[in-house]
C-alpha cells in the first residue's frame, strides 16, 4: 500500500483531494447498502472515476467489486459496471492504445520517447500489481470464467476484456488457473461462436493471450476445433483482403502451431493445409496493396513456414511439403514469385517460404527447377532470382532470400547441383542465354562485395557433399583478358584473393575474401584432386603462409583463420602426389614459418567470431546488416567437422607420422594376413559345406536306421508281449495246481479249466472218431485177410485186381470143366475105337483112325494152348500173391499204428482221468472254501453255486462221453 501511495504522490500531486474521499464513500455504499439500486449506482460511480483515479479505486474498491461479482451475480447491470471498473484499474486505456500501435508497427514503438516510456512502465507496474492482487485468489479467475458463460453483452464483453487484461499482466499464473478449472478453455473457445462480432473479436484477442507459450492450452484450443473455426472466420472475412480480424485469427493460428508438433500434425491430418491454398490466389493486378493485406499475407506466409520449418522433425516437414505440392500451394506461391507488382516485403517472404517448402524435398525441388518466369523468352525462375541476387540495386533482405532459396533448392539435391555446375562446363555452355553459372561467375568477380559473397556461397552449395561436382568444376576455364591464356576458376579465385587490394570494390574487402575462402574450403575439402590442383600453383602456398603469419588487425583475423583452415585442408586431404607439397613438407613449412601453436590459434579465430554461432543456429541467412554477412550455415558445419582433425593432423610429429605409417604398414600386413585367413575361411567354408552335405546324407541314413530300429523294437516288444502272455498262461497253468489259494483267481481258473476240459473233450471226440475209423479199417482188413488171401482191400487197385482175379478164376474153372469134358470124350472115343476095332474091318478102322488121329492132334493142340493159358494164369497169380504180401505188410503196419493210437487213446483217457481227479479235488477245495466263507458269514452263493453247478454238469457230460 505504501508503494501505491508513493506512486500516486509522485504522479498526481495536487489532484482533487476530494477524489479519495468520494471513492471511500462509494466503497462504503457498495459494501453496506442493502438496496441493489444503491449498490448499482455506487459501482457505476466508481466506474466513472476508475480511469481518472485508477490507483485510488484499485486500492480501495477492488475487494468490494469482487464481492459484488460473488453476490450480485443475478443482476447483469451491476456485474457489468463492476467488471468494467476492474478492467479500468488493471488496464488503462492509454496503455491499450499504445499496445495496438505496437502491434501494428513494431519498429515505431521502439522509438517512443524516453519519458513516455518510463510513465508506461509505471502504469504497467500498477496494472501488474492489481492483477496480481486479483488472482491471488484463484477463485476470482474461476468466478470470472463463469461470468463469461453469461450471455448478456454487458457482462460477457467486459468479462472478456478483463480476462484478456489479466492474461496480459500475469500470463503464466492465469493460464495455470484456467488450465485446471474444468471446461475453462472450452468456455473461452465458445466466445468464437458468439454472433456479436465485438465479443468474437475480443475473444480472439483473449485466446491469443491465453495460448502464448503454453503448449497444453494450445493443444486443448486446437482440440476444441479452433483450426476449423479460425479458418472459417478467415474465409468469411475475405482472407487476405479481410481486416484486422483476419490478422488476429492468423496470429492465433501462429500461436497454436509454432513449436507445437502435436498441433502441426493435427493441422496436417485435418487437411487444413489444403485450405491455405486459396489464401495465395492473388490476382495479377496487384496495384494497391493495403497495409492490412500486406500484414495478412505476411502472416499467412509465416504460417506456411511454421509447418515446414527446418527445425521441425524431418518426417513431419517432409509430409507437409508433400501435401503443399499435392494441393497446389507451392505452385500458387511460385505464381506470386513470378507475378508483377508484388510488394518487395511480400516477395521476400514468399521467396523464403518457397525456400522452406522445397528444402530437401526432391519432388518440390524438381518442380521449382521447372518454373519459368513469364518473360519473353521465358527464363527459368532460378535464373531470374539469381539475377536479383547479384544485382546491387535489389534490397538486401531480398538478396538474402534468393540466396536462401538457392541453397534450399540445392539442399540434398544432387541432380540440381549437377545442373547448376553443368551450366559452367565448356561442353554444355549456351552462349545465347543467361545461365545460372554465368550469373554466379559474374557475381563472383563483380565489384560488389555482397555479390561476391553471395555467389561464392551459392556456388559452394552446388558442391556441398558432392565429389563429382567438385571435380567437374575444376574443368572450368575462364578467359580473363585478351592475349592471356585462360585461367581455371579455382586459380582465378585465389588470384582475386591475393590481388584483392588492387581492385577497388564497393563494400567490405573482408566480405569478398571470406566468401572466396569459404568457397575454396568447401571445394577442396574431401577432394584430393582439387587440393593438388590448388597446390600446383607455386604462388598459392606462400600466399597462405604469408597471410597466416602476418600480424594483422582485428578485421583480418577471420581471413587469417580461414587461410589456416584452407592450409589445413591442403594437409588433411593431401594425397602426396606433388613432391614439393607432401603432407610432411607442408607441416614442416607450418612449423618453420608459422609455428604449430600459432597456426592452431589462428584456426580458432573462425569459431571464436561473434557471427559464427549466430550463423550456426539456423540455415536461413538472416543478417541484421549487409556487413554482418560473413558466415554461411553449411560452412559452420564444415568448420566444426574439420577444426579438430586439422589440429590433430598438424600437431602430429613426423615420428608420430612415421609410427602411423608403420601402423599403416602393419595394418596392410594385417590385411594380407586377413586375406590369407579369409581364403582359409573360404576353404574351410567349402569343407564345412561338404561336411554338411555328408552330414545330411548321414542323418538321413541315420533316420532310416532309426526307423528300422524302432520297427524292430516294436517287433521285439510284440514278441515280448507274446512271451509275457505265454508266461502268464504258463503261470496260470502252473497256478492251477495250487489254485484255490487265492479266492480272486478261482473263477478265472475255473473258466480256464472248463475251457481246457472242452478242448480235451474235443480231442477225445476226435480220437474216438479216428478210433472208429481205424476199427472199421481193421475190421475190413481182417475180413479180407480171412476171406481171400488174394483179395486186398487196402488200395483201390486191389479191388481191380480182385475183379480180374475173379474173372480169371471163372475162366480157369470153365477151362478145367472143358478139360474134364474133353478127357471124358477121349475116353469115350478110345472105348469106341476099341469096340470098332474089334467089330469092323481094317478099312473102316483106318478111316476112323485117321479121323481120330486128326481129332487128337487138334485136341492136343488145344490142350497145349490151354496149358499155356494156365501157365500165364499161374504167373499172374504169383504176382497177385506178391501184391497180397505187400498189402498184408501194410496192413500190419496199419495195425501197429492202430495199436499205437489205441495206446494214445488210453493215455489221454488216463490224463483225462487225472484231470478229472484234479477237478474233483478242486471242487472239493472250492466247496470247502465256500463252506468256510459261509461259516464266516459271507454271502457269495449265487454265482459260485451256479459256477459249481455248471462245473458238475460239465463233468457229467464228460463221463457220458467216456461211457460212449
Amino acid at each position: 500500500m505504501n508503494f501505491f501511495r508513493g506512486v500516486i504522490g509522485g504522479q498526481q500531486a495536487g489532484a482533487q483531494p476530494s477524489g479519495v474521499e468520494t471513492i471511500q464513500k462509494l466503497c462504503d455504499r457498495v459494501a453496506s447498502s442493502t438496496l441493489l439500486e444503491d449498490r448499482r449506482d455506487a459501482v457505476r460511480a466508481l466506474k466513472s472515476l476508475s480511469k481518472k483515479y485508477r490507483m485510488e479505486v484499485g486500492t480501495q474498491a477492488m475487494d468490494h467489486l469482487i464481492r459484488i461479482l460473488q453476490t450480485d451475480s443475478s443482476d447483469s447491470e451491476i456485474l457489468g459496471y463492476a467488471l468494467d471498473t476492474l478492467y479500468n484499474i488493471i488496464c488503462s486505456d492509454e496503455e491499450e492504445e499504445q499496445d495496438e500501435s505496437e502491434d501494428a508497427a513494431p519498429v515505431k514503438s521502439k522509438n517512443v520517447a524516453a519519458p513516455e516510456d518510463t510513465q508506461r512502465r509505471q502504469e504497467d507496474d500498477i496494472g501488474a500489481q492489481f492483477s496480481e492482487r486479483f488472482i491471488q485468489e484463484p477463485e476470482n479467475v474461476t468466478l470470472l470464467l463463469t461470468m463469461l458463460e453469461e450471455f448478456d453483452f454487458h457482462v460477457r464483453w467486459p468479462g472478456v476484456k478483463l480476462l484478456t487484461a489479466l492474461l496480459k499482466c500475469q500470463c503464466a499464473q492465469v493460464q495455470g488457473i484456467i488450465l485446471v478449472s474444468p471446461m475453462g478453455v472450452s468456455r473461452l473457445m465458445d466466445l468464437l461462436a458468439d454472433s456479436r462480432e465485438v465479443i468474437r473479436n475480443d475473444g480472439l484477442l483473449l485466446l491469443q493471450q491465453l495460448t502464448k507459450g503454453n503448449a497444453a492450452i494450445q493443444k486443448i484450443v486446437a482440440f476444441e476445433n479452433a483450426f476449423e473455426r479460425l479458418l472459417d472466420i478467415i474465409t468469411e472475412e475475405g482472407t487476405s483482403d479481410g481486416g484486422i480480424v483476419v490478422e488476429d485469427c492468423l496470429l492465433l493460428l501462429l500461436n497454436l502451431l509454432k513449436n507445437n508438433s502435436s498441433n502441426q500434425n493435427f493441422f496436417k491430418e485435418g487437411s487444413y493445409i489444403q485450405r491455405m491454398k486459396p489464401w495465395f490466389e492473388v490476382g495479377d493486378d496487384n496495384s494497391g496493396w493495403s497495409a492490412q493485406k500486406v500484414t495478412n499475407l505476411h502472416l499467412m506466409l509465416q504460417l506456411v513456414r511454421v509447418m515446414v520449418s527446418p527445425v521441425n522433425s524431418p518426417g513431419a516437414t517432409a509430409s507437409c511439403q508433400k501435401a503443399m505440392f499435392q494441393c497446389g500451394l507451392l505452385q500458387q506461391l511460385c505464381t506470386i514469385l513470378m507475378a508483377t507488382g508484388v510488394p518487395a516485403d511480400i516477395l521476400t517472404e514468399t521467396i523464403n517460404t518457397v525456400s522452406e517448402v522445397i528444402r530437401g524435398s526432391q519432388v518440390n525441388q524438381d518442380y521449382f527447377a521447372s518454373v519459368n518466369a513469364p518473360s519473353n523468352p521465358p527464363r527459368p525462375a532460378i535464373v531470374v532470382l539469381l539475377m536479383s541476387m547479384v544485382n546491387e540495386r535489389q534490397p538486401f533482405v531480398l538478396r538474402c532470400a534468393v540466396l536462401y532459396c538457392f541453397q534450399c533448392f540445392l539442399y540434398k539435391n544432387q541432380k540440381g547441383q549437377g545442373e547448376i555446375v553443368a551450366t559452367l562446363l565448356p561442353s554444355t555452355i549456351d552462349a545465347n542465354s543467361i545461365s545460372a553459372g554465368q550469373l554466379l561467375c559474374g557475381g563472383l568477380f563483380s565489384a560488389d562485395s555482397l555479390s561476391n559473397w553471395c555467389a561464392a556461397v551459392a556456388l559452394g552449395h552446388a558442391l556441398q557433399d558432392n565429389l563429382t561436382q567438385k571435380e567437374q568444376l575444376l574443368r572450368v576455364q575462364l578467359a580473363t583478358s585478351l592475349g592471356k591464356p585462360p585461367v581455371s576458376l579455382l586459380q582465378q579465385c585465389t588470384n582475386i584473393l591475393s590481388q584483392g587490394d588492387k581492385i577497388s570494390r564497393r563494400g567490405s574487402k573482408v566480405q569478398t575474401r571470406v566468401g572466396l575462402l569459404m568457397l575454396l574450403c568447401t571445394w577442396m575439402s574431401n577432394c584430393p584432386i582439387a587440393v593438388t590442383h590448388f597446390l600446383h600453383n607455386q604462388d598459392n602456398v606462400p600466399f597462405l603462409t604469408a597471410q597466416i603469419s602476418e600480424n594483422l588487425g582485428e578485421d583480418e583475423r577471420l581471413v587469417q583463420g580461414l587461410c589456416a583452415l584452407l592450409l589445413g585442408i591442403c594437409i588433411y586431404y593431401n594425397d602426396n602426389s606433388l613432391e614439393n607439397y607432401t603432407k610432411e613438407k607442408l607441416k614442416q613449412l607450418i612449423e618453420k614459418r608459422i609455428g604449430k601453436e600459432n597456426f592452431v590459434e589462428k584456426l580458432g579465430f573462425i569459431t571464436k567470431h561473434e557471427l559464427y554461432s549466430r550463423a550456426a543456429q539456423k540455415p536461413q541467412p538472416a543478417f541484421s546488416a549487409p556487413e554482418h554477412m560473413l558466415f554461411d550455415h553449411e560452412f559452420t558445419k564444415l568448420v566444426k567437422e574439420l577444426e579438430g582433425v586439422i589440429t590433430k593432423a598438424v600437431h602430429k610429429s613426423s615420428e608420430e607420422e612415421k609410427k602411423e605409417e608403420e601402423v599403416k604398414k602393419t595394418l596392410e600386413q594385417h590385411d594380407s594376413i586377413v586375406t590369407q585367413y579369409k581364403e582359409l575361411i573360404r576353404e574351410q567354408d567349402a569343407q564345412i559345406n561338404e561336411l554338411k552335405e555328408q552330414m545330411c546324407t548321414l542323418t538321413s541314413q541315420k533316420d532310416q536306421m532309426q526307423n528300422t530300429i524302432t520297427q524292430q523294437l516294436s517287433q521285439i516288444q510284440q514278441h515280448k508281449d507274446q512271451y509275457n502272455v505265454l508266461k502268464l498262461k504258463l503261470g496260470k497253468d502252473s497256478g492251477q495246481s495250487d489254485s484255490g489259494q487265492v479266492n480272486g483267481l478261482q473263477l478265472e481258473e475255473l473258466t480256464l479249466l472248463r475251457e481246457e476240459l472242452e478242448e480235451l473233450r474235443k480231442q477225445h471226440a476226435l480220437l474216438n472218431t479216428q478210433l472208429a475209423e481205424r476199427d472199421t479199417l481193421i475190421a475190413n482188413l481182417k475180413a479180407e485177410g480171412v476171406q481171400s488171401p488174394d483179395g486186398l482191400t487196402a488200395a483201390p487197385e486191389n479191388t481191380e485186381l480182385l475183379k480180374e482175379l475173379e474173372s480169371l478164376r471163372g475162366q480157369v474153372q470153365t477151362q478145367a470143366a472143358e478139360i474134364s469134358q474133353l478127357q471124358r470124350e477121349r475116353q469115350e472115343v478110345q472105348t469106341r475105337t476099341e469096340a470098332l476095332a474089334a467089330v469092323s474091318g481094317e478099312a473102316a478102322d483106318l478111316t476112323k483112325v485117321t479121323e481120330l488121329e486128326n481129332r487128337l492132334s487138334a485136341q492136343t493142340a488145344e490142350t497145349n494152348r490151354l496149358q499155356e493159358e494156365v501157365r500165364s494164369l499161374t504167373e499172374s497169380r504169383a504176382a497177385m500173391e506178391k501184391e497180397r504180401a505187400a498189402a498184408t505188410s501194410t496192413a500190419t503196419i496199419l495195425q501197429t499204428e492202430k495199436s499205437k493210437l489205441q495206446q494214445e487213446v488210453a493215455e489221454s483217457k488216463k490224463e483225462q482221468d487225472d484231470l478229472l481227479m484234479l477237478l474233483a479235488d478242486q471242487d472239493q477245495k472250492i466247496l470247502s472254501l465256500k463252506q468256510r466263507l459261509k461259516d464266516l458269514g459271507e454271502t457269495i452263493e449265487d454265482e459260485d453255486d451256479l459256477d459249481a453247478r455248471d462245473q458238475f454238469d460239465d463233468d457229467d457230460d464228460e463221463e457220458e462221453e467216456d461211457d460212449e
Binding site: 488450465l179 474444468p182 475453462g184 472450452s186 497444453a216 482440440f223 474465409t235 500434425n265
Partner: protein, 212 residues
C-alpha cells in the same frame, strides 16, 4: 483425403498401461518397447472404412499421470469415443477403472462410446486380471470390452474400429447430433457439400478447397 465422417477419440487410463503404444500401433503399425512418458496429450490420426464409408479417426492420447488429470479432463467433452485402458498384468490399473469411468461420465457428453480395453494380452504368464473380470466390469457399466496387445497388434485394429462402428450405429439411430461438432463428430467435406448447398456460396467455396 475425403471422408464421410470424422470421429474424435480419447485414450484414457493409468500411466504405463500402453495407451501411447496402442495409438502408435494403430497409426504407424509399429511397437515402441521403451516407455516414453506422455506429456499432456499427443495427437494421432488414421482413416478407416466402415460400411463402405471412409471415416477419419482423430485420436488424442492423454497422459495417465495424476498430475495431468486436470489437463486431460478438458478433452472429455469434445470426444465421441473413449478407449479406457487397463493393464491385465497390473491389478491396480483395473481397480482404478471406476475412478476413470466416473471422471469420464462426469465430464463427457452422455453419448460418448466407451470401449474398455485390457491391454498387454501377450503377457499371459504375468496376468493378474482375468478376462472374465474385464467382461463382467464392461457388462456392469455398459461398455464394449476387448483384450488387446499393442506389442503383437492383436485386436488393436478391432478396438478402434469397433468403437467407430458403435458410434456409426448411434449416428444411424439418430442418437448423436452430428451438426454439433462439440460431440466429437464431424461430417466430411463430401457430405457437407451436399448438405450445405442451401447455405450459399461460402459452402461451395469450402467444398472447392476440400476437393483439392
Amino acid at each position: 483425403m475425403a471422408y464421410a465422417y470424422l470421429f474424435k477419440y480419447i485414450i484414457i487410463g493409468d500411466t504405463g498401461v500402453g495407451k501411447s503404444c496402442l495409438l502408435l500401433q494403430f497409426t504407424d503399425k509399429r511397437f515402441q518397447p521403451v516407455h516414453d512418458l506422455t506429456i499432456g496429450v499427443e495427437f494421432g490420426a488414421r482413416m478407416i472404412t466402415i460400411d463402405g464409408k471412409q471415416i477419419k479417426l482423430q485420436i488424442w492420447d492423454t497422459a495417465g499421470q495424476e498430475s495431468f488429470r486436470s489437463i486431460t479432463r478438458s478433452y472429455y467433452r469434445g470426444a465421441a469415443g473413449a478407449l479406457l485402458v487397463y493393464d491385465i498384468t497390473r491389478r491396480d490399473t483395473f481397480n482404478h477403472l471406476t475412478t476413470w469411468l466416473e471422471d469420464a461420465r462426469q465430464h463427457s457428453n452422455s453419448n460418448m462410446v466407451i470401449m474398455l480395453i485390457g491391454n498387454k494380452s501377450d503377457l499371459e504368464s504375468r496376468r493378474e486380471v482375468k478376462k472374465e473380470e474385464g467382461e463382467a466390469f464392461a457388462r456392469e457399466h455398459g461398455l464394449i470390452f476387448m483384450e488387446t496387445s499393442a506389442k503383437t497388434a492383436s485386436n488393436v485394429e478391432e478396438a478402434f474400429i469397433n468403437t467407430a462402428k458403435e458410434i456409426y450405429e448411434k449416428i444411424q439411430e439418430g442418437v448423436f447430433d452430428i451438426n454439433n461438432e462439440a460431440n466429437g463428430i464431424k461430417i466430411g467435406p463430401q457430405h457437407a457439400a451436399t448438405n450445405s448447398t442451401l447455405t450459399g456460396g461460402q459452402g461451395g467455396q469450402q467444398a472447392g478447397g476440400g476437393c483439392c
